[in-house]
């Protein structure tokens, strides 16, 4: 179940979350930089999902689904949400809250993954 790549992926996710925090410090709507960070986190989360199981996998998949909603690549509903972002129909405060939720969820995944890594050392 556990592979050598997991600590590396988790480190990367922690770094992405930290970069999102810096964007939130001076948030002014969803920029290309933020979309890029979300794209990077999606790639790493997918990789983590393939290598994990149980609650970590479940939480990781939920977060991937939330990120996809903003990225317009899943369903009609996602497209509507994405268009609303692009046309600034969703106000900046709501956008900030959406990004804040993703940020917190990212750290929850990182923390759970850390626990998995620690547990694996005793196996």
């Amino acid at each position: 179940m556990f592979t050598a790549r997991i600590p590396e992926i988790n480190q990367k996710l922690s770094e992405i979350a930290s970069s999102i925090s810096e964007r939130l410090d001076m948030f002014d709507g969803f920029t290309m930089g933020i979309y890029k960070l979300l794209g990077e986190s999606e790639i790493n989360l997918k990789s983590l999902s393939k290598k994990s199981s149980g609650s970590l996998k479940k939480e990781t998949n939920l977060l991937i689904s939330d990120i996809k909603k903003i990225g317009n690549r899943r369903s009609f509903f996602d497209k509507v949400t994405f268009d609303a972002f692009r046309k600034n129909i969703i106000d900046k405060e709501s956008q900030r809250k959406i990004l804040q939720n993703i940020y917190v969820s990212l750290y929850k995944v990182v923390s759970e993954c850390d626990e998995t890594i620690k547990d694996s050392r005793w196996e």
Partner: protein, 141 residues
Amino acid sequence: MEEKRDKNIEAIAKIIELTRANSLKWHSVNNLDVQKKSNDIISYVFSTSYKKKILRIFKRQYQGRYQDINTLAIFARIASPISASKKSELRWYEEVILELVDGKGTSLWAFPKEDILNDLLKTIKYKVSGADDLINSLLEE
């Protein structure tokens, strides 16, 4: 356990949000106020109060035995005797500590270690330095 960990992360994220919104005002504190072990290096000490509780945050650098959690590194240590000697090496590590303190600065309870604490310290430094005010006034000119 998992629920408690999630709650801690949500609480720290909330402190970051309150700091960004200037609802929590942090101020710099003398690093001599922090109790430490002899070789520790304490820096960036800030304090604030929230609902009659005093919060203090700081960066702690400390020496500890070399430990690489990367599984590849563990295999590498088995394969290479030179790497194995690193096991007994002392290295510098750093962590950010967020704690509740009493009026005399004595630590009462510390939040568990989480990566998100690094972001809280960065946000506090950003706010206390007045960087956002400077950027905004530069853009307005």
